[in-house]
């Protein structure tokens, strides 16, 4: 389990993390999303023990990660910006990792190398961006991490490789109860794989829910009412995040239980009343757009 409590980190005068709270259950996949500059990368670096937080704690299995040698040996982290030793080939990188990580799995390395089709020789630094990402993933997965932290893991990967990456992750979560914390802007893919979602805003956790729960709370509603029905008080009792009129039809984003939505709008005798599926991307936009009026005005 990953627990982050009241984490603070400042860069000069800017607060990158401002009391961040986060919990990732063991054997689950947690998606960390947020607008640019919301503190995602800083949070991941603090959680993996790269950055020392100014205050607060980042724990794995109840132990602080910072300077914890045993724990770090069980953590795999793929940052957004990759780094490899200048003249090293993939096999040389693997040899280095093998000496450092006690759980290194040579069989998996060989198998993944074949699946990804990466060259054994040749400098990794001369690989394409996507191939470097694959190489980092391959090396990280071969250390058999109990905790996998990923920062934009599929950025630059083609759809086939992306599918392969997610497959390996899901298989390890299922087989070894690996805990995954992933940050990405690709919300459609996150929606398909994550158990829980945390939306980060200005260094704080804005919303943290299980994905199903998050979806069950926010609804996209299409409704039309007979002429003469008063507009005032039409949605009293509902948490309307967004309201938009397209001719006679109103499009609403409502954060309330589905039963309440059905009861309130149904009682107004609508001509049209549909509850439509809402994607994670829409939830992200509506939630943060509602929070930030200026952003909401532009988006909607």
């Amino acid at each position: 389990m990953i627990e982050v409590m009241a984490l603070h980190k400042r860069f000069d005068k800017n607060a990158a993390l401002d009391g961040l709270e986060l919990r990732v259950k063991k054997g689950s996949i947690y998606g960390l999303i947020g607008v640019n500059g919301s503190g995602k990368t800083t949070a991941l670096k603090a959680i993996t023990g790269i950055l020392r937080p100014d205050a607060g704690e980042a724990l794995m299995d109840g132990q602080p990660v910072y300077e914890n040698l045993e724990l770090k040996a069980r953590v795999g982290f793929i940052p957004d910006e990759l780094f490899f030793f200048g003249a090293y080939s993939l096999d040389e990188c693997a040899a280095f990792y093998r000496r450092l990580y006690p759980n290194w799995n040579s069989g998996r390395y060989a198998e993944m190398k074949e699946r990804f089709g990466l060259p054994e020789r040749g400098r990794v630094t001369r690989f394409s961006k996507g191939m470097q990402k694959q190489a980092a993933f391959l090396l990280t997965m071969s250390v058999m991490p109990d905790y996998l932290i990923l920062d934009e893991p599929i950025d630059g990967l083609d759809p086939l490789v992306r599918k392969l990456v997610w497959k390996y992750i899901v298989d390890d979560v299922a087989a070894r109860s690996m805990t995954v914390l992933v940050s990405s802007h690709n919300l459609r893919e996150m929606e398909g794989i994550c158990d829980s979602i945390g939306i980060l805003d200005k260094g704080k956790m804005f919303i943290e829910r299980e994905l199903d729960e998050l979806k069950s709370d926010i609804h996209k509603v299409q409704a039309a009412f007979p002429e003469g029905t008063p507009e005032e008080g039409r949605y009293d009792g509902l948490g309307v995040l967004h309201r938009e009129k397209r001719g006679a039809v109103e499009l609403l984003i409502i954060r309330s239980p589905e039963e309440t939505v059905r009861a309130v709008i149904g009682s107004r005798s609508p001509l049209i009343f549909d509850i439509l599926p809402l994607s994670l991307e829409e939830i992200f936009i509506y939630e943060l757009g509602g929070e930030r009026n200026a952003l909401g005005d532009i988006i909607f």
């Binding site: 860069f11 670096k45 993996t48 023990g49 790269i50 950055l51 020392r52 300077e67 040698l69 045993e70 770090k72 040996a73 953590v75 982290f77 940052p79 910006e81 990759l82 780094f83 490899f84 030793f85 200048g86 003249a87 090293y88 280095f96 000496r99 450092l100 990580y101």
Partner: protein, 693 residues
């Protein structure tokens, strides 16, 4: 605890990778050491000079390699700190900061020292055959390699970019020493008696280990050697603490820690302020440009150093203004502190009972007496260890401190003003604990009139140190007797202009002993008045000899000071002793041997004399300027001979109103075969009579 202990446990996996990745560093090192160390052996295995240099760490190549390879090795192993992506990747690995730091240190030190190990191993056997042990030099190389590796690791922890790392390596290597020297510049200018080559000068040298060790030798000071040995773990620990506190997100910045930014900017500002004001002062433009140099240098370097530290041109803000204000305040405090001598430096004269022995320079004596006496490789300093002489030295010192008002400090040129033509007096005390040194420029008259100076120069201890019989004058190779000739400061004519008048005499052992005894007795009998008189020395005794280091040395037996074993330098083999008129025994010996008549025969061959009026001016920077105007030519030989009785050997600092130079032509009136120069004070009645006559 786990984190702390990891600073002493390298990661062997990473160490191996470092050696594999950066193999080029020891490889290049091996090539360099090979060509400097092993290759010369292959060419000339019996080169003693080469072994001496290598064994003493004076080999120029070794001196350069010792800091260069730790610099390169530290730069490459710590390069990961200077990029956000690499620092993140390295800290993702299951390695603590302690292990990363320790591994980097061990890697850099190993890569730097490995070529030296191979070289010294190869050199050990032929060195032993030649009688030189390579072990001390290797130990020193190892110590300096570890020192510089640790220092350059500290530099890396302070900085966020590769270029700045190299810059700070240089800064840390020389800044402490430079800072001491810069403060010394102000001390020299503002403190009366400050000796630049004393404590602070020594400290400045010793703060640069290469300068110190290569200049002084490894065993010159056990205290400093121990200090350097201890500085390695101290620097290592400093680097470790900085690493633990370093914010990795600062990768890419010039300077990582705010405290070091202050040190860096203020040191650069101080250096810039001092250097520019010295340049302006040296140009002789006066006080206003000098002060402008202080102001302009400080402002310019403060802004420039802030730009470097911030990696931005946008430093014209309130912070820079505030820093400027703080710096100006500190600089003003320093100047006031020194100017008003708040440390009591100028009045500090040691209590005689706390002095083990005192040293006084002797090189002002020729200035004072206007003749070059006792020139046979004498040590530069006279040593006084008798209690009454120590009291006389401290008494002389006290009387000199009263002359402070003569001292006009208004620039950083290093020379006090208003004392042009004065004596340079060095005093050095060996105390029961530590040393104390002072250097003064004082008027010649003060020393001549000082009762303590008289006591010192008439003391038995002085006589012993100047007794020619205590010098290592062994078997003579040649003895040359010359009439009065030019030597010393105002050497307008080459010495050999009078060489045609010299006598290269053949002398038996008995005669040689007689001559030395006569000289020794005359020297012992000299009074302070004799020494400070300004006589024309008619004779000079020049002796080429084989140094006799087995001579029983009366001074060495008598002295309680441990610093002197010989009155003369045992390696010296030439003595030149002027014989003034009061050396009666020596002159008697010359007369009895018939040399006197031959050496004074030139007086009967005088043809004419050219008079020149020399004007002396004291320059603003303490220098003395001489300008000359030709005077009349005197052709009356009898008048010239009479004038010679009132002549002096050389012009001296007490002739502040200038003097007359009389150059006498000897031999044929058409083609003189030699010249002799004698001097007279500006107001000498002898010259008035001569010109009037």
């Amino acid at each position: 605890m786990r984190s702390a202990t990891s600073y002493f446990r390298p990661s062997w996996a990473l160490l191996r990778e470092n050696l594999k990745r950066f193999w080029a560093v020891p490889a290049v090192g091996m090539v360099c050491w090979f060509f400097a160390g092993i290759f010369p052996l292959l060419i000339d295995g019996n080169s003693r000079q080469w072994f001496i240099m290598a064994a003493d760490m004076r080999h120029p190549a070794f001196i350069i390699f010792t800091p260069i390879f730790p610099l390169i090795a530290s730069a490459v192993t710590l390069r990961y700190l200077f990029s956000p992506s690499s620092v993140s990747a390295m800290h993702t690995l299951p390695l603590t900061r302690g292990r990363l730091y320790c591994t980097s240190f061990v890697s850099a030190a190993a890569m730097s020292i490995a070529p030296a190990v191979v070289t010294y191993l190869v050199m050990a056997l032929p060195g032993a055959v030649e009688g030189y042990s390579m072990l001390p030099a290797f130990a020193l190389t190892l110590l300096l390699t570890l020192f510089y590796t640790a220092l350059f690791h500290v530099a890396a922890m302070l900085t966020g970019s590769g270029v700045m790392h190299l810059g700070v390596c240089g800064f840390l290597s020389f800044a402490p020493s430079a800072l001491v020297l810069l403060v010394g510049v102000y001390c020299q200018s503002l403190l009366f008696g400050y000796s630049g080559d004393a404590a602070m000068g020594v400290l400045a040298t010793r703060l640069v280990p290469l300068l110190y060790f290569t200049d002084e030798g490894i065993l010159s000071s056990a205290v400093w050697l121990a200090a350097y040995i201890l500085s390695v773990p101290a620097l290592y620990a400093t680097g470790a603490v900085l690493y633990a506190r370093r914010h990795l997100e600062r990768a890419g910045d010039s300077i990582v820690f705010p405290f070091f930014e202050l040190i860096f900017t203020f040191t650069v500002t101080f250096a810039g302020m001092t250097v520019l004001s010295m340049i302006f002062d040296g140009a002789g433009w006066g006080k206003f440009p000098f002060n402008l140099g202080l102001l302009f240098g400080a402002a310019l370097c403060l802004i420039a150093s802030r730009m470097v530290a911030k990696k931005s041109l946008r430093v014209f803000n309130g912070t820079t203004l505030l820093r400027g204000g703080v710096f100006a305040g500190a600089a003003a405090l320093l100047i006031c502190f020194l100017n008003f001598d708040l440390t009591g430096y100028e009045k500090r004269v040691p209590a005689p009972e706390r002095v083990e022995y005192a040293e006084l320079n002797r090189d002002f004596l020729p200035w004072l007496s206007n003749r070059q006496i006792y020139a046979y490789g004498n040590p530069s300093y006279l040593v006084f260890s008798e209690p009454e002489n120590i009291r006389a030295v401290t008494g002389l010192h006290s009387s000199i401190t009263e002359l402070r008002d003569l001292y006009d400090h208004s620039g950083l040129g290093g020379m006090p003003r208003g004392t042009g033509g004065g004596l340079s007096v060095y005093l050095r005390y060996q105390m029961t604990f530590g040393e104390l040194s002072r250097r003064y420029f004082i008027p010649a008259e003060h020393m001549a009139d000082d009762a303590n100076a008289r006591a010192l120069f008439e003391s038995e201890e002085f006589k012993l140190q100047n007794d020619v019989s205590n010098a290592a004058l062994g078997q003579p190779i040649s003895v040359v007797l010359s009439p009065r000739a030019n030597y010393g400061r105002y050497d307008y004519f080459p010495n050999d202009s009078a060489s045609s008048l010299a006598l290269d005499i053949t002398i038996s052992s008995d005669e040689y002993a007689e001559l030395l005894n006569a000289l020794a007795e005359d020297m012992r009998g000299e009074t302070w008045e004799d020494i400070t008189s300004n006589p024309l020395c008619d004779f000079v005794v020049s002796i080429d000899y084989i140094p006799d280091t087995d001579t029983d040395n009366a001074y060495a037996r008598a002295s309680r000071a441990p610093a002197r074993e010989w009155v003369s330098d045992p390696s010296s083999n030439y003595a030149e002793i002027a014989v003034p008129p009061h050396y009666e025994r020596t002159i008697t010996w010359l007369v009895s041997r018939g040399y006197y008549e031959r050496l004074t025969a030139w007086r009967e061959q005088i043809v004419s004399a050219q008079l020149t009026r020399v004007t002396v001016e004291n320059g603003a920077d303490g220098a003395v300027w001489h300008s000359s105007d030709s005077g009349p030519v005197i052709t009356d030989a009898a008048s010239i001979r009479r004038a010679l009785d009132g002549a002096s050997g050389q012009p001296g600092p007490q002739w502040r109103d200038g003097y007359w130079d009389m150059t006498i032509s000897i031999g044929d009136s058409e083609d003189p075969y030699s010249y002799v120069s004698v001097f007279f004070p500006a107001d000498s009645p002898v010259i008035d009579n001569l010109i009037g006559g």
